[in-house]
């Protein structure tokens, strides 16, 4: 076949020139190799790429073995082609043309290097990517992304959608405040302002000031709560734990700071703490005094009692079984586990000391109470016998014994009855009051002192809380036997009942811990007036200062016993005059006694505020008030400065 091959070349001037050459071949071989009819440069072209061939006047292209050709953009192994078809070989384009008129050729092919490509360097540059930054992965865009993410995620969104504010929380709030943790404004009521004391006092409205109002310690009373109580420091953090230095800052030298105080200095429980003083209120309207414990200090309670004659005795108690009387038989801890409940006759005494007044009558006993009431009850008991015809007493007049029940009493019978009843009452009274009687076993008798003018008993004032300036928990000391701290109340029958096993505490050798150092019989109390409150040395056997370490003592910060906020001093806040303080903050049940106490104070009796102006005096706080609402009573000497029959107690609530 005759072929016209036309090469289209691009001159450097940009002009294209056409170079024709005619050849006659059997088949037209195309490839990279120089032996081809049409040799095209380019490593992507095979040495022998394709063959053009005529058959029956038609032109065919066939790929060489293992090769392919690209015809009109389609890859094929070979096919018929004609004018207008375009083949791609490497960077070359082969176009099949219609042979020109007059040209004596069968096939016209035009070829041109259309994809000349770049220089090697340019191509290499294209395959070279230097620099770590690309697209958004570059300093500037990354910086913007970071700024945007943080400002939107942590500032804008939380500002308008409060649930997203949790990353703002600097730390978990303490356990007690956890229930309001998600409600920031509960405490942070104002924006761009510190938490206000009012925010705290929404709930803690009765949090007491540290010192009595008249001390006017503005520095303490007006301080921000947050100064001392730092929140957001974790669930387990105790907001009230301010470390050992907090109290001693002032109390190590209180006299130097507060000239008027008579409080003694203290800075460390183990090493620098005054001996305990007992608060004794000699007259609730006048003054509570703190007294040092001396050997001759006695409590005058109006009662007689001997621990010696009770503790350790084998008795038949409420049940039928015999048991030793131990401390718990009379002293029961209160519900809060702090102090002991008052000893109550009906619960703690009656089982052994029933108030029987008639040995012949099984129901002839009276409840514990006012002697006048008891007299009336006994009188009623015998009068009922007469009326119901149940007088069996051999000493009674015959007419009373023979009386039919329900019959009307004649005046003579009435007089007989009256005499008989009175004689019975007298006998019962003798039984009660004549030694060795029943009532005088415990009570000081007061002839004519009863409200009916008959035999009475002296008023009873048992000191309830002895050290009101501190909080003591019997409950936390439950692992230890009572005898450890109250040896004077612990005694044991030297001849124990062999049938009853002795309690553990009474046997020194079997005591499971070595903390009991005192013998239980050093000085056993035989008098009700004995003061059995342990002194500081007893506490120090286990408790040392806050900074103690070494594993043998309990590090004891001031706050272990002494609350900072004393409710009875009125609520925290600016110091105001006592009058308006009482008006703005009515005392709680256990609060200041002022409002109720003052009206009962007569004449020149000083007001409760004046009475408490001595800081050494027992503060009239909730601790200084016994749980039944009476001011605890005790006396340092036997001479009562007031008349117990008329003054009695002041009810505080």
């Amino acid at each position: 076949m005759k072929v016209r091959l036309t090469e289209v070349r691009l001159r450097p001037t940009g002009k294209k020139v056409r170079l024709d050459r005619d050849i006659e071949v059997e088949s037209l071989f195309v490839g990279r190799g120089p032996d081809n009819d049409l040799s095209l440069k380019g490593l992507t072209i095979s040495l022998h790429q394709a063959t053009f061939r005529m058959a029956d006047g038609r032109l065919y292209v066939e790929a060489a073995a293992g090769q392919e050709v690209n015809v009109n953009g389609l890859v094929t192994g070979g096919e018929r082609i004609g004018p207008g078809d375009v083949l791609k070989l490497g960077s070359w384009e082969l176009r099949v043309l219609q042979p020109e008129e007059g040209a004596e050729v069968d096939v016209a092919l035009e070829y041109e290097e259309t994809d000349r490509g770049q220089s090697e360097r340019a191509s290499l540059e294209e395959r070279t990517t230097l620099g770590l930054e690309s697209g958004i992965f570059a300093r500037r865009p990354l910086a913007w992304i970071a700024i945007g993410t943080i400002l939107i995620g942590f500032l804008l969104v939380p500002l308008f959608w409060s649930p997203a504010q949790s990353p703002w929380n600097t730390g978990d709030v303490s356990r007690g405040h956890a229930y309001v943790e998600s409600d920031c404004q509960k405490c942070h009521s104002g924006f761009f302002q510190a938490v206000q004391n009012d925010d705290c006092m929404t709930c803690h409205h009765d949090i007491g000031r540290h010192s009595p109002l008249e001390m006017r310690m503005a520095e303490l009373d007006n301080a921000d709560c947050g100064t001392c109580h730092l929140e957001h420091r974790g669930r387990q953090v105790d907001l009230a734990d301010l470390g050992s230095g907090f109290c001693s800052d002032c109390h190590s030298d209180l006299g130097g700071k507060l000239a008027e105080t008579s409080l003694r200095d203290a800075s460390d429980f183990g090493e620098d703490h005054p001996p305990f003083q007992l608060a004794l209120v000699t007259n609730p309207l006048l003054e509570a005094v703190s007294v040092d414990v001396t050997d001759d200090l006695v409590e005058i309670s109006g009662l007689e009692f001997s621990h010696l004659r009770h503790v350790g005795k084998a008795v038949t108690g409420r049940g039928d079984s015999k048991q030793y009387l131990q401390c718990g038989a009379c002293h029961e801890p209160d519900a809060g586990g702090l102090y002991m409940k008052p000893v109550v006759f009906e619960e703690h005494c009656q089982d052994c000391h029933r108030l029987d007044f008639d040995a012949t009558a099984p129901s002839g006993f009276t409840p514990h109470g006012d002697p006048a009431d008891i007299r009336a009850k006994i009188r009623g008991f015998y009068a009922t016998r007469v009326l119901s015809g149940e007088v069996k007493d051999a000493e009674a007049p015959r007419r009373l014994r023979m009386r039919r029940p329900g019959a009307r009493l004649s005046s003579e019978e009435a007089e007989l009855s009256r005499r008989w009843v009175e004689s019975k009452v007298e006998r019962a009274e003798r039984r009660f009051y004549e030694r060795p009687g029943t009532c005088d076993l415990c009570h000081e008798l007061d002839p004519g002192g009863a409200s009916d003018g008959g035999m009475g008993v002296a008023p009873v004032q048992v000191q309830d809380i002895w050290v009101p300036g501190s909080v003591f928990s019997h409950g936390s000391h439950a692992p230890f036997a009572c005898v450890k701290c109250h040896p004077g109340a612990a005694v044991f029958d030297p001849e124990p009942d062999s049938a009853l096993p002795r309690p553990e505490w009474s046997m020194k050798d079997s005591i499971p811990y070595e903390l009991i150092l005192r013998e239980p019989t050093t000085r056993v109390s035989n008098e009700a007036g004995d003061i059995l409150i342990p002194d500081i040395t007893v506490c120090r056997e286990c408790h040392a200062g806050a900074d103690a370490w070494g594993g043998e003592t309990v590090p004891s910060p001031c706050s272990m016993c002494h609350p900072f906020h004393v409710r009875g001093n009125g609520p925290m806040g600016p110091s105001v005059t006592s009058g308006s303080a009482a008006a703005t903050s009515p005392p709680e049940r256990s609060g200041e006694p002022a409002a109720d106490a003052e009206p009962t104070a007569e004449g020149d009796a000083p007001s409760i505020h004046e009475a408490h102006s001595d800081h050494a005096a027992m503060p009239a706080n909730h601790l200084g008030v016994s749980r039944d609402g009476y001011v605890g009573i005790g006396r340092a000497d036997a001479d009562l400065p007031w008349n117990p029959h008329t003054d009695l107690f002041v009810r505080l609530n």
Partner: protein, 278 residues
């Protein structure tokens, strides 16, 4: 580029001394001040240390502006960098004193964490500047990267010619060696300094294992081709090492700068929040 020694030793370690004495004073104040509620970021000491730290951070950011300002007067850029490095490192210790060592999962600790990333990347940056340039110079061996690339292009061109008369197997290898050879590329490949799928290495392997029968002339061509591609492979290794070194010198900054801005943003949020809910 400023060599690390020049700014680390600037003015006989003036800013190291400044940073250390600031830190020492802060520790003394921190230890001495024991507010009633305990040490915290919201005590007066906490506010004071926090103010110093925040002011330092914003001042450190200023270096980004100062280093671009060639007409600036006052302290030399070297002094600025020296102060930047020492005061910035000091922040790692100053900020925990500010917060009284309280940390948590919150935006406040986030600010500190981001700042730590900035400081540590900065320290790495100084370390890279101290170590990398020496290796880089040694690797370059007095040839610039541009010259090395030019040489690669020349080899490619020579390979094309050498393969022209050789069978397709060789043509294919040369095309592979040229078209499949990439320099740099992704973040990872630049920093790895290697290309496991390098076209040139593949081409060299296939040429060395060629089983094509060749005549003597072609064999001579083949030998020449293998030599060219082997040289190209060596050159590529050198280039890739160079790219890696360059990457190391850039890498820390890509972390340092965005995280510095992130720190500032978090710091603004921190300051806003602690006063918003004071």
């Amino acid at each position: 580029m400023i060599g690390p020694r020049t700014f680390l030793e600037y003015q006989n370690y003036r800013y190291l001394k400044v940073a250390l004495s600031t830190l020492f004073l802060s520790i003394v104040v921190y230890v001495v001040d024991d507010p009633p509620g305990g040490r915290s970021g919201s005590s007066w000491t906490g506010y004071g240390l926090g103010t110093i730290a925040a002011a330092t951070i914003f001042w450190l950011m200023w270096l980004g502006i100062r280093k671009r300002s060639y007409s600036a007067t006052g302290a030399s850029l070297k002094g600025w960098v020296s102060a930047h490095v020492y005061l910035g490192t000091g922040l790692l210790f100053l900020v925990p004193l500010h917060s009284a060592f309280e940390f948590g999962w919150n935006v406040h600790t986030l600010a500190y964490a981001l700042m730590c990333v900035v400081c540590i990347s900065g320290i790495l940056g100084v370390a890279f500047y101290a170590l990398v340039p020496t290796s880089m110079t040694r690797n370059r061996n007095n040839i610039t990267l541009d010259a090395m690339l030019e040489r690669i292009a020349e080899i490619d061109s020579e390979c094309r010619m050498a393969a022209d008369g050789l069978p397709d197997y060789y043509a294919h290898a040369v095309v592979t060696s040229i078209d499949d050879t990439r320099i740099g590329g992704t973040f990872r490949s630049q920093l790895s300094g290697k290309d496991a799928d390098c076209g040139t290495s593949r081409a060299l392997r296939s040429l060395r294992t060629s089983e094509v029968d060749l005549d003597d002339e072609a064999k001579e061509q083949e030998r020449k081709l293998i030599e060219l591609i082997a040289r190209k492979e060596l050159l590529l290794k050198q280039i890739r090492r160079d790219v890696r070194f360059k990457g190391l010198l850039d890498l820390w900054l890509i972390v340092h700068v965005p995280f510095a801005f992130a720190t500032c943003a978090a710091l603004i949020v921190h300051i806003f929040v602690v006063f918003w809910y004071h």
